[in-house]
Symmetry: D2
Subunit: 257 residues, 4 copies
């Protein structure tokens, strides 16, 4: 196994550091990082001695290989050659999203444990949204014996929340649904407006897990004395080993098919 | 509130026994049972002194009312008049199915507790299928500290099973996936063939929850010394109060809309 | 391995049916049932073709053997010879009591599941007493997502109950502590008097697990419309395989020492 | 309510900052911190503008009051006058220890979450010791879906561990009991010797929760590539609000009696 762009770190036994040229020549499958690029210009490669530019030259070297990567849309903008290469986006499948929900939920719980001055056990916790992350977070917080309320819109989701032993509330009713110590937002829409927050003053910590621009009026939260924080890229930060293993497992399975 | 067809039982305060005629005259909304009919001829009404025939006369009386019922297809075959009546099937919505998954799962667990000569805690348990019932059953059996394996086909379902702290197995690999004390089938297809069962001889009890014709070769199970049983209509039998409340809640919400 | 008194049933491979004489001659260790005797006269042996009398002749045959049994006090009353025999009571150690708490708790939960017309999930459940059985029962009922309250007297027990994610109540305050659907009594004292029961009318089912005379005024329960039942010998009835394995494991360990 | 020694912080409404003299004059009950003193000379008072010396003068002021404190032994060494004062140590009762087990266990779990590069869900976790903290930690880690093994010595403790759905191992067998990702030590004795650690090389993180000198050969852990850390004063650090509430609740109850 060859690895390119890891000059500044050490690699486990069996992985050999290599130049991009050598790697492209010898390997049939190439795995690019998640996301492939942050800036749209260079490969995301924090351990690389020098930037690795994503241009026609880079793409040319990948011809004939099978190329895997995460959030590949940005890569395709860097060269037309990509249209002729066999690529696959491991971050696009539902399985990837589900498997990342657990490390994300644990990372979010850790933030709450650190920021909340009481114990999670016995605390009143609200989770806004019952998508993949909301579901995983409900499982983690209930496992820690919090008193968990989850908001959703669809009647069948409210039914699932109750079937899991938690309290359910319609998303629109969040403000009038109770008093909470800890709130997690997973909905990518402005749910926690100034008005809603005014009803939730007792809350100690509000963790926003929705991707930018997030779902919280941070200014209002500050005024009401609620410690609000935005938590992104959690799987990679909180559980890098698991995050890497998830990508590895999914790519292996993609190769096998 | 008026009730017709309950001559052989007593009713709670506030519900008055009535004839069908009176009921049809005075009530704007009528709730029929689940299923509306077992035999396609009479209303399902075990507490009725006499059979209540579902014919044109019955349908005629319902004109102008809002009529709710469960598994209404069979009712519509009894008279053309139904085409002109405002009906709604409370058993057809996703929420109904989800809410019934919990009493069904508890009923299935109770069958296993009664039939298995050991404790559920520490037992090895396989659940075939990760639909609504499989999911609810996983939750119940894990709550009882069984060592739970769940089978599914889709990679994201396998991911959810593991995210819930259980072992996952592809449905096709069930026969080679381990030794189980208790098996539940929720898949409406012949999963537990003679061949698969031959690998699962150590199993004590196999509960089939799939609707007829079920998913088990019962003859083969018998030969391999596996106690197999079919469990249907569980919500109503195991938790009649909950089953009734689910119908009531959903009908109320349907009326409000 | 020889077994005496099992004429009316079949035994697993490796166990040979034998007369008491042969067994006593060939075996260094003898395991008697739990309890050794029900009536103080005969060995408890429901599968025996004829009664096996516990008298001096029986005891004489056991001389020089190591004799294990459950509730051995009654055996010792049958003959003075027992004073000269090496005996051990497997039912007297703390480990035995703890290991039996799980099958007993599951058996009690099964009774509640069968008798209560709703689901355990979401039901309000009170457990009186936080001894071994109360603790095991709390674990099972919480695992099934009941809303669990446990009563105890010692402040540290109340603390443990809350540490386990349940509500605690002082035993004396039971009557005023809330409304319950399901109540379990594990305290061998009359806790559920007419007066206490008058506050708990909403309860559907009351399961008494305390050994005779139990802790419930059954007559009053009946008057208040509470279905009350007494559940004894649960481990053997609900999970005979586990109950037998517990005895086997403990005797093996006693022999090894 | 008067408070002395909080010059450097703000206090909630209803609590008035005061001098020691005024406080001693006006208050019948005085609550000292936990521990009363760190150095044996001054009161533990990090928010005080100046050190508050624990001497005869201090003690004299407390005459006639009821004085509560934590770890009071050290206070008694500072003056003979204490012999004539009505004191009570809130940290000495079993309830205090039990209630602190939960915040300590959550704090320990948080350390593991931060230090372990994978998810707790699915990780292999060993907890050495089944005292109050071991028990609370087992509950937390199992709630997070770790695969939990707990060590103990007494057979009834091993039985309780299994009754809780975890694996048990005799403390002496820890080294040969499996491969673990995360290990917690709660035993105040050198359990994790070089030899034992040599069998546990796969472990990522080892958290020592036993009071000094702890139970780990830290040098050996380092050699085997195991990240070992000592975690003390957890309740106060991880959940100050809960830690304070526990003291408050217990003192209130002591006053009431």
């Amino acid at each position: 196994m060859l690895a390119c762009g890891f000059e500044k770190t050490s690699l486990p036994a069996g992985v050999e550091k290599s130049s991009l040229e050598k790697l492209a020549l010898e390997c049939g499958s190439v795995i690019l990082p998640l996301p492939v690029t942050d800036d749209g210009v260079n490969l995301k490669a924090e351990y690389s001695a020098e930037p690795i530019v994503l241009d026609g030259i880079f793409a040319e070297k990948m011809r004939g290989r099978r190329v895997f990567g995460g959030k590949m849309e940005r890569l395709f903008c860097t060269s037309r050659i990509w249209e002729e290469i066999d690529t696959a986006d491991y971050s696009a499948c539902e399985e990837f999203a589900v498997r990342n929900a657990v490390p994300t939920a644990e990372g979010a719980a850790e933030i709450a444990m650190r920021g909340y001055p009481g114990t999670i056990s016995g605390s009143h916790c609200l989770i806004a949204g019952f998508g993949r992350l909301g579901r995983a977070l409900m499982h983690v917080m209930k496992g820690l014996d919090a008193d968990v309320t989850v908001s959703a819109r669809a009647p069948e989701d409210l039914a699932w929340i109750e079937a899991s032993g938690c309290r359910s509330v319609e998303t629109q009713q969040i403000g009038r649904s109770g008093v909470y110590d800890i709130i997690f937002n997973t909905v990518p829409a402005l749910i926690f407006t100034r008005q809603v927050l005014s009803h939730l003053r007792g809350c100690s910590i509000l963790v926003d897990l929705a991707s930018s621009p997030g779902g919280i009026d941070f200014e209002a939260a500050g005024k009401f004395g609620i410690k609000a924080c935005s938590a992104l890229s959690l799987p990679g930060r909180a559980a890098p080993k698991t995050a890497g293993k998830i990508i590895g497992d999914i790519v292996y399975r993609m190769v096998e098919r």
